[in-house]
């Protein structure tokens, strides 16, 4: 079973535009992570936000976390064709802090030049 659900399932934008995708999850978490997957580079870690953090930035990425609503958002600013990929949120909800991740089904993003 998958803990997270991403919304939308698919997103098509033009280069230079911003892309926003959302993730909702069901149980309390230790942290939430975003990963990107494309055929060329496999699954790549983008950013980790801890449960006691509300916002985090990394380059053109901005992640927010609202634990009261059990939701997170990923914003990619000034998108590029190379951002075309599937984006997954993954939650670590384990009591043991081993890092076992539960992934959502992903948002497929297409950035056209």
């Amino acid at each position: 079973s998958q803990q997270g659900e991403e919304d939308p399932q698919a997103l098509s934008i033009q280069e230079g535009e911003n892309a926003t995708m959302n993730c909702s999850y069901k149980t309390s978490i230790n942290n939430l992570q975003w990963y990107r997957q494309n055929s060329g580079r496999g699954l790549v870690h983008l950013i980790l936000i801890r449960s006691n953090e509300r916002e985090k930035h990394s380059g053109r990425l901005r992640v927010t976390l609202d634990t009261s609503k059990k939701s997170s958002s990923l914003l990619i600013t000034a998108s590029r064709a190379a951002d075309t990929a599937s984006y997954f949120c993954a939650t670590d909800a384990g009591a043991d802090s081993w890092g076992k991740l539960q992934f959502g089904a992903g948002t497929q993003v297409v950035v056209t030049p």
């Binding site: 998958q2 997270g4 230790n30 942290n31 992570q33 990963y35 496999g42 699954l43 790549v44 870690h45 980790l48 801890r50 997954f88 993954a90 670590d92 384990g94 043991d96 802090s97 081993w98 890092g99 076992k100 991740l101 539960q102 992934f103 959502g104 089904a105 992903g106």
Partner: protein
């Protein structure tokens, strides 16, 4: 090594055959994870090792699935008597230690069971 490597990259098996999938984690990484990813879905957790100890195997779909990491480095995922529903990409990931370290994923092994 430079990253997590997996072999083979592609495997075609006839139903009923046994298969073995190999994962070479990043040197020094304590934690190793196996995930199964069906087409169009996100990865699903299978099992977790801390060094050579298998601490969580709750995601293994059946007793036909077996994983080991005998020396705390290379890991092998074995599937016995493969079934068509086992067709998926099997991903291996390693991390330095625990929950607050990012996981580095290998390219995966795409298994097709005919």
């Amino acid at each position: 090594g430079a990253g997590v490597s997996q072999s083979p990259r592609y495997k075609v098996a006839k139903r009923g055959q046994d298969v073995a999938l190999r994962c070479d984690p990043i040197s020094g990484h304590v934690s190793l994870f196996w995930y199964q990813q069906a087409l169009g879905q996100g990865p699903e957790f299978l099992t977790y090792f801390q060094n050579e100890a298998q601490l969580d195997k709750s995601g293994l779909p059946s007793d036909r699935f077996f994983a080991e990491r005998p020396e705390g480095s290379v890991s092998t995922l074995k599937i016995q008597r493969t079934q068509q529903e086992d067709s998926a990409v099997y991903l291996c990931a390693s991390s330095f230690r625990d929950s607050y370290n990012e996981q580095f994923f290998g390219p995966g092994t795409r298994l097709t069971v005919l």
